[in-house]
């Protein structure tokens, strides 16, 4: 009996385990391996062993791509800029999503389902099409631009162009990531027992204090899942800056994409990917550490 149970357990967990090994761990290892190679003459990778009869062809393993990364501050600056954009995107998403998630969580069931549907409805159409829709909306000739510039003109401010600007990138980033913040927040907030707020109020807490002492601390796990989801995705995003940003609005995601697709320097692309992954791990790790310390301090008497 026990043996049979074990077999079932191994089968059930074995399939996803195999899947992870094949499609997650293996590609990661390939990326790491790639980062130590020479780029091929026409893209791709140079051979590991020099082909017979050739001299002076780059081959084998090297740290050249890493050297290249650290030799120019340009890349570190793109990293910092990407981090800034990701942080601002995450914060704006959090500030916009929290009240909305709270509203949805405290609505009657019918209304709640309609609002949740509206939150996930954008997923029904293609991601790129939705970004291109913003190109139309933000176009200098668009109705929105026309009216905004009309008003600006009245106040005496010279007209602005929204498209292909850092503003457009941020707008697109927030737009794309909002559902990923709203949903985990909603899932958390929906579980709160309303009687806790009654109790807090009964014991003398105003609405703001109820929020600050009860709702907010109870929602921290939802807040951190939302932050992680949005932050990681925002840090690697290349489609939004590609489509909505100008030439100066390159982020780390664009840089990586370019190495693999246009510049065709795979080892350097691999180095950038590894750096991005390490940055994310470091930030998430630090975040988790401080969150735990914060929690401990809050609870200690």
């Amino acid at each position: 009996m026990i043996k049979e149970k074990n077999i079932v357990r191994w089968l059930l967990s074995g399939v996803p385990l195999l899947f992870l090994l094949l499609f997650f761990i293996a590609p990661s290892l390939i990326i790491v391996f790639t980062s130590f190679r020479f780029p091929g003459e026409f893209g791709g990778l140079a051979p590991l062993i020099a082909p017979m009869g050739t001299v002076d062809v780059e081959h084998g393993l090297t740290l050249e791509a890493y050297q290249f990364f650290f030799s120019d501050t340009l890349y570190v600056r793109v990293f910092i800029k990407s981090l800034q954009v990701a942080v601002v995107t995450t914060l704006i998403c959090l500030i916009m999503s929290y009240p909305l998630a709270l509203l949805i969580a405290r609505s009657k069931e019918r209304l709640r389902n309609i609002m949740l549907l509206l939150v996930v409805l954008p997923f029904a159409s293609n991601f790129l099409i939705r970004i291109y829709a913003w190109v139309i909306i933000l176009d200098p000739e668009s109705v929105l631009s026309y009216f905004i510039n009309l008003i600006l003109n009245l106040v005496g401010i010279s007209p602005v162009i929204f498209l292909f600007s850092p503003f457009a990138v941020l707008l697109g980033m927030v737009y794309v990531h909002l559902p990923f913040m709203i949903l985990p927040l909603y899932i958390n907030l929906e579980k709160h027992d309303p009687i806790l707020l009654d109790a807090a109020q009964d014991l003398g807490a105003s609405h703001w204090k109820c929020f600050w002492y009860i709702t907010w601390p109870l929602s921290i796990s939802g807040v951190s899942s939302g932050i992680v989801l949005v932050f990681i995705s925002a840090l690697g995003m290349f489609a939004v800056p590609d489509i909505l940003g100008g030439t100066g609005d390159i982020l780390i995601g664009n840089l990586i994409k370019d190495q693999f697709i246009s510049t065709r320097d795979w080892p350097f692309g691999a180095v950038l990917s590894i750096m991005l992954a390490l940055t994310i791990l470091l930030i998430i790790g630090l975040g988790a550490y401080f969150l735990r310390r914060l929690r401990k301090r809050n609870y200690a008497t």
Binding site: D193, I195, L196, D198, A199, A200, Q201, D202, L203, G204, A205, S206, K209, Y213, I214, P217, L218, Y299, A300, T301
Partner: protein
């Protein structure tokens, strides 16, 4: 002046009248119980006192001042909820400290008062635990401590013992009585358990269908219920149709169609010919062997139909010759040699003329 005065309070939900023109006044230091079956309006009334709900009409006054427009957080009234509503992300100490922290008290003062209050509810070493690490009884104590720490004028308790098992409930009853006595804070206790109400309260209001049936001390309520509902709701009682035949102070002679004539104590305001009920508690009657000489005025022969043994007492169901059944409670304290009654025994049911009660409705 009463501490809390409820004046003609009514609350409707749609067509349903949850609380119907209720007037109650509660004194300082009183243990006051709202007793009634579920749906009688006791929880609605409690919510209005706490400030979670507002009356449609009538007033609720604290120290003579109308509390209308005073939100729940401003009222010096705290609630112990049926499900305790402890904050799951805070330790026991933080839960108990919450009202003081909100009130902006100094840390030193909070600390010493939390320690003292935890002592009062006998939770000495559990300050650093989280609510989910506690037993039901311990959670109950935390909720009590949290409600009492800032010394409210009034503590509302909404069926707080409902979730505990019998043994623990009895323990907590004694502790509630002690806590109330020590703190001197008025308790308003909501329950549907007549036993809890009788044990704990200084005064009880029996509620039914949104209205007040009777407000009195436990012994008055138990011994002199004002009507059939109160008599029936508190403890066991035998109720039979009756009509007043004769008033011979200090007694009344009644005709009980199912039984015959009986003599019970007189009651003020009763007139000859009044129709109503005779009520008598199971412990107020005695059972005698059929052949014994009986010199009491009220005696009727019957047969034991069933018995319920409960250790300390036994409840006998006796059927009279016309089919009417009554319950009689006898203590099992008699010496072992004395014969117990068995099912099928022919017996005589006897009660003295100074027990029993005539009810008009």
């Amino acid at each position: 002046m009463a501490l809390l005065e409820i004046r003609g309070v009514t609350r409707c939900f749609g067509n349903f009248i949850a609380v119907n023109n209720i007037s109650i006044s509660i004194e300082t230091g009183e243990f006051f119980t709202l007793l009634g079956p579920s749906g009688c309006g006791k929880t609605t009334l409690l919510r209005m006192i706490a400030g979670f709900d507002l009356p449609d009409s009538g007033q609720i006054l604290l120290d003579g001042k109308d509390m209308v427009g005073m939100p729940s957080e401003k009222r010096p009234i705290h609630t112990v909820f049926q499900t305790y509503a402890l904050f799951p992300h805070m330790t026991v100490s933080d839960n108990v400290a919450f009202p003081l922290k909100i009130a902006g008290k100094k840390l030193d003062e909070i600390r010493s008062r939390v320690i003292k209050t935890l002592d009062d509810v006998r939770l000495f070493n559990l300050g650093n635990r989280f609510p989910h690490e506690l037993s039901g009884g311990q959670r109950q104590r935390v909720a009590l401590a949290r409600g009492l720490i800032s010394r409210p004028r009034l503590l509302l308790l909404d069926e707080p013992l409902g979730a505990l098992d019998l043994k623990l409930r009895e323990e907590m009853q004694i502790e509630l009585i002690n806590l109330q006595k020590e703190t001197g804070i008025a308790f308003v206790f909501v329950t549907h358990s007549q036993n809890e109400a009788l044990t704990l309260s200084h005064r009880i209001v029996v509620m039914n269908q949104g209205g007040v049936e009777q407000i009195d001390t436990p012994s008055k309520i138990y011994n002199f219920p004002r009507n059939r509902f109160v008599a029936d709701f508190l403890g066991k009682i035998n109720i039979m149709d009756a009509q007043v035949l004769e008033i011979i102070p200090p007694y009344l002679r009644l005709l009980i169609p199912e039984l015959g004539q009986v003599v019970i104590p007189n009651k003020e305001g009763v007139k000859i010919g009044d129709k109503g009920f005779m009520a008598i508690r199971p412990e107020q009657m005695r059972i005698m062997i059929y052949s014994e000489e009986v010199n009491s005025k009220n005696h009727f022969s019957g047969q034991i139909k069933s018995l319920l043994y409960a250790g300390d007492v036994t409840t006998y169901v006796v059927e009279f010759s016309n089919g009417t059944r009554v319950e009689i409670l006898l203590p099992n304290s008699a010496p072992r040699e004395i014969k117990r009654f068995e099912i099928g025994d022919l017996v005589v049911i006897v009660w003295e003329s100074d027990v029993g009660l005539f009810l008009n409705d």
